[in-house]
Amino acid sequence: MSTVATSQIKLTPEHARPRASVRSRLQDALPKIVLAPSFAITIVFVYGFILWTIYLSFTNSKTFPSYAITGSRAYQRLWGWTFDTDPPSSWYTSITNMGIFGFLYIFICLALGLFLAILLDQKIRGEGVLRPIYLYPMALSFIVTGVAWKWFLDPGLGLEQTLHQWGWTSFHFDWIKNKDFVIYTVVIAGVWQASGFIMAMFLAGLRGIDGEIMKAAQIDGATTFQLYRRIVIPLLRPIFLSAFIVLAHLAIKSYDLVVALTSGGPGGSAWLPSNFMYEYTFKRNEMAVGSASAVIMLMTIIAIIVPYLYSELREKPR
């Protein structure tokens, strides 16, 4: 049912058909010509480059790319490192951190976001002031967030010292310098940055719920708690899904925050796979291993995003 086809029928009476054919054919092709550069760019610089990275992961490229396929050695090394726990290999640390960070970041952001959205939805005076306050961290770069929290959590100058001055001298908080806890400081800063946005998503969802349903439930004697547990939260399911996708995607891509907040942590103890990839590719001259780790990150994202995009694009049949 293309628009182009209908227009042609209407246009032909005005132009003499044989003469206009070259021009009108060009006109017909114009939309595709306009779209073509963007599409070509995407194919080459996204999909072509992904294939290139996959290719490199099967070579033994070190400092410079080498193009002789040498098999899956890079993956075998990663696989070996996955169980290398004593002392933990960088890869083991990275994926363990990814698990800890991913789980806590997503879970806390969802819980806090929903909680704040429900509180804000209680006909609050001053909502217009509070909402932007919760949300502004999302406008900051991860680097700025990292710098601010690095300062805030610094044992010598930040929170710890402040509480000491206020008289709580036994207070001890050095997570940012402790290799076992540094990843939790990344969680704190990450939650600080993204939870306000998740709140906004839930709030939009809450505002979209039909007030009649709520009223009916209230009339039937449901308590506020029951109302939310049984009716509102189930209705917010699509928002949970979207928020989960956004957060999972942000978590896997997180790179800047670790760099700015912890500089990688003591001995690389705060690394995520993204940091692993960057370090191995550009600093440790293990290009094949770096590429293999990038491929694994990509696969993780694909497993999460593709089913979601597929259902979103299919839901609206034309």
Partner: protein, 314 residues
């Protein structure tokens, strides 16, 4: 008869319970507001303190003798690595990168959205799907090939420079970053415009076609004048993303005087020569944060809309 239960419930609940409820809710909301404001507040007050006050005083205390010196130093003297020329150069690097990248990617997004909704063709959904997925890839999976290509382009630029006297911008870091941000930004901009134009009445486009308006005339005279909200959303979204980018910037312009703001800030904070001047670092961080914060304050509504459009709609 059900109406009876409501007043009864309220009466039994009493005014006190309701009041306590409200106090608890407002208390919690205020507490969280503090949590979100604290780091910004600390950053701001620290940037106006002297080093002496930072070392002896309380992080949360207001500056006793507010001074602009840290800001001046951050802008024009602070050291990034061994070069001590302040943030101003890097600030302009970012501006020079952001402005063209935002304009080009927004324009391309608008055209793509227009084609994908008003000039549908077979396979349009697939094309869109492929472009959309590109928004979500971890950029680590394209980082290295892009570095290789940019390296080759740079060498070609040098050859051109030797042969003709000008490199036509090939190999220039800012040009490279503009290119990279356009390439990896068009997915999102296309998504924004496509979803917006989807609801735009196709009848208007058809009527214009009947009247003999060409493809570009329709775009310029009909679509663009009606696109102001989505243009604002897209520009803000792209501006924030590109300004805040660190990964591409550190991979392709990670050192020297070509660094954008985010990379320079990270270097400044991690420069370990001499005494660490926290007040100057905080002022530098504030300078890096100000443009996006300003956009947020001036056009917060559009900013949120962009985030939502990027997140919720597929």
């Amino acid at each position: 008869m059900s109406a009876v239960t409501t007043p009864a419930r309220q009466a039994s609940g009493g005014v006190n319970v309701k009041l306590i409820n409200r106090v608890v809710i407002y208390g919690l909301l205020a507490l969280f507001a503090l949590f979100y404001l604290m780091p910004l507040f600390v950053m701001l007050v620290t940037s106006f303190k002297t080093m002496e006050e930072i070392q002896n005083g309380n992080m949360l205390a207001l500056p006793q003798a507010p001074t602009f010196d840290p800001w001046i130093k951050a802008w024009s003297e602070v050291c990034s690595g061994l070069t001590c020329v302040g943030m101003k150069g890097y600030f302009w690097n970012s501006i020079k990168m952001v402005v063209p990248a935002v304009i080009i990617s927004t324009l391309l997004g608008a055209l793509n959205g227009y084609v994908l909704t008003k000039w549908r063709f077979r396979g349009a959904t697939l094309v869109f799907g492929l472009m959309l997925f590109a928004c979500f890839i971890p950029f680590q999976s394209v980082l290295l090939p892009m570095a290789t290509i940019l390296g080759s382009i740079g060498r070609f630029g040098v050859t051109l420079q030797n042969a003709t006297g000008t490199s036509f911008g090939l190999g220039n870091s800012t040009v490279n970053l503009v290119f990279v941000h356009v390439v990896y930004g068009i997915g999102f901009t296309t998504l924004f415009f496509r979803n917006y134009y989807e609801t735009f009445p196709t009848e208007l486009v058809k009527a214009a076609q009947v009247d003999g308006a060409s493809f570009f005339q329709i775009f310029r005279r009909i679509m663009l004048p009606n696109s102001l909200p989505i243009i604002v959303v897209t520009v803000i979204y792209q501006f924030t993303n590109i300004w805040n980018d660190f990964l591409f910037a550190s991979a392709y312009a990670g050192s020297g005087d070509v660094m954008p703001m985010t990379v320079a800030l990270n270097n400044v904070v991690n420069t370990s020569t001499g005494v660490v001047e926290y007040n100057v670092n905080m002022a530098a961080a504030m300078i890096a944060a100000l443009p996006t914060l300003l956009v947020y304050v001036l056009a917060g509504r559009y900013f949120v809309r962009g985030l939502m459009a990027g997140a919720v709609k597929g």
